[in-house]
């Protein structure tokens, strides 16, 4: 069982607090999405976990030990921080060989991760000829090199094409299913919703939420039922009788807030209202996230007067 433990972590750059009294735990066996507006402290937290930055106070440990104390850390923790970490004049394969050598990782792992990330065909080319998507794949290959129990990826979907996005989703799900601890930062909500089980949300360096993703959405976005009918009068009448407010939309459908499809369906069908469509409008992660971080974005556009 290897988890990432962040305890009271604070990091100041001059007078600015990038990370402010952060405490959370990333557990194995699930994908934890790491969300927050730009400047919320996600990348700083990752650097602190990896011992690259020194915390002002507090601790960050992996499996109960500080990262810098790990022998051959790549065998325990794999990280992608920056797609531009590889030297442009080195080949992709050589970049991985260099990293493998330092942690005594056998050379065959280099070929394995090249295959796994789909860049084996380009492994002999210099990194400067790679697209951003290929660099990301190389960075992910480097993270997987030591077959680590803990994987930290900072914005791994950046620059990936649609096929690459599907691939990374599958990869993250698989890593979690294998029992690894997976922490993935992202600002793409729909993307995060497609792979995360759990969320850690930051705003201005502070912890805003540490909850399962489903729960996060359900508590922040009110459930809504969507209805289309040929008999609007009958619909509104029956709903009003049961205390529901139906709102008509320009596209021709109706929605009912704070309602569940089970209740509405029963009420409407027993009244014999003809239905063309009856569906739950699921709250999206994006809605829930914006609801939470509305006041927390460091650089929000000023609201314009109409």
């Amino acid at each position: 069982m290897t988890s990432i433990d962040v305890q009271n972590l604070t990091k100041e750059y001059g007078t600015r607090r990038a990370v402010d009294g952060l405490t959370f735990r990333v557990r194995p066996g699930r994908v934890t999405g790491f969300l927050g507006p730009n400047g919320a402290g996600k990348s700083t937290t990752m650097r602190l976990v990896l011992g690259l930055d020194r915390p002002t106070s507090g601790t960050a440990t992996v499996g109960g030990r500080p990262y810098a104390g790990l022998r051959e850390p790549l065998r325990h923790v794999g990280a992608l921080l920056d797609a531009h970490a590889a030297h442009g004049s080195r080949t992709g394969r050589d970049h991985l060989r260099v990293l493998a050598a330092s942690n005594r990782i056998p050379g065959r792992r280099v070929e394995e991760v090249l295959e796994e990330t789909g860049i084996a065909g380009a492994a002999g080319r210099r990194v400067r000829t790679y697209s951003l998507g290929m660099r990301q794949r190389l960075g992910i290959a480097a993270a997987l090199l030591g077959d680590p129990e803990v994987v930290l990826l900072d914005e791994p979907a950046n620059g990936l094409d649609p096929e690459g996005i599907v691939w990374i989703r599958t990869l993250l799900r698989r890593l979690a299913a294998e029992g690894r601890t997976v922490l993935v930062s992202s600002h793409l909500m729909n993307e995060t919703a497609s792979f995360a089980d759990h969320l850690v949300v930051l705003g201005r360096g502070r912890l805003l939420a540490d909850t399962p993703m489903r729960e996060f959405i359900d508590t922040r976005v009110c459930p809504r039922v969507r209805i289309r009918t040929t008999d609007a009068t009958a619909l509104t009448a029956v709903l009003a009788r049961h205390g529901h407010d139906a709102v008509r939309h320009e596209a021709g459908h109706w929605t009912v807030d704070h309602a569940r499809v089970d209740d509405i369906g029963r009420v409407v069908s027993s009244a014999g209202v003809p239905l063309l469509e009856l569906a739950t409008e699921e709250g999206t992660l994006e809605q829930a996230y914006l609801d939470l971080t509305g006041g927390e974005a460091e650089f929000t556009a000023p609201a314009r007067e109409a």
Binding site: R47, L52, P73, A86, D94, V98, L99, S102, R104
Partner: protein, 240 residues
């Protein structure tokens, strides 16, 4: 973490960058070429016969500095240093491996450069190098190797402090080309203690300053040690 795998990784970094391998060849070529040109020019009767053989070292050291600078500066581009230190979090050990990985190939190439320069110097018809004793020739070759290595490592330390290859080059190269030439003639002053002046005494048959060949090289080694210590300190202390 053990030192050997880290060193192996750092040596592999040097081998897999064409600019670094090219830089080492540049040290050899520029030193030998300019030494040969100087040897062909008969020079005044008072010219130092040993230094005329190793005259090209003044140019080869620029290539040596470029080699040391490039090897470290590559780490300060993009997120390279983060990846390196995530793999090897013991920063002191990592920097020691980097230093050895630059120093050992540089020393081997430097010694080879010394041998080739000497061979070329002796091959020039009517060369005054023919009059050199065995001991002076060995001193010249060994001195050439160590001097070039110390200059490359000086650049390693300085680049780690300044975190930029451009900053290091624009500090060291003008220093060697201008400062040393301008105040270098004022022998017997503090100028003798500058890293290049002190270290080049070993390449002369006779000297009149306070420093001898080996004490001169030791002074250069002190400069280099100071730069490396500052580099290690800066690397261990800073966030990356």
């Amino acid at each position: 973490m053990e030192f050997t795998p880290v060193l192996r990784s750092e040596l592999l970094k040097i081998r897999t960058l064409r600019s670094l391998v090219g830089g080492l060849c540049g040290v050899l070529l520029s030193t030998v070429l300019f030494s040969a040109l100087a040897g062909a020019d008969s020079g005044g009767p008072d010219a130092d016969p040993l230094f005329s053989v190793f005259f090209g070292v003044a140019f080869g050291q620029i290539a040596a500095i470029a080699f040391g600078t490039t090897a470290v500066a590559a780490e300060f581009r993009g997120g390279a240093l983060r990846a390196s230190l995530a793999a090897v979090p013991r920063r002191g050990r990592w920097f020691a491996a980097k230093t050895v990985a630059v120093g050992v190939p540089m020393l081997l190439v430097g010694l080879l450069t010394g041998c080739v320069s000497l061979a070329v110097g002796r091959a020039v018809p009517g060369a005054r190098a023919a009059g050199l004793t065995w001991g002076e020739q060995v001193r010249g070759v060994v001195g050439c190797g160590f001097y070039l290595t110390l200059m490359a490592l000086l650049a390693v330390g300085l680049t780690a402090v300044l975190r930029s290859g451009v900053a290091t080059s624009s500090l060291l190269i003008p220093f060697l080309l201008i400062v040393s030439f301008v105040i270098g003639d004022m022998s017997g002053s503090v100028a003798d203690l500058l890293p290049d002046r002190a270290g080049q005494v070993v390449l002369h048959r006779t000297w009149d300053g306070s420093l001898g060949p080996w004490t001169g090289l030791a002074v250069t080694a002190l400069w280099t040690a100071a730069a490396l210590a500052a580099g290690a300190w800066s690397l261990r202390r800073r966030d990356v």
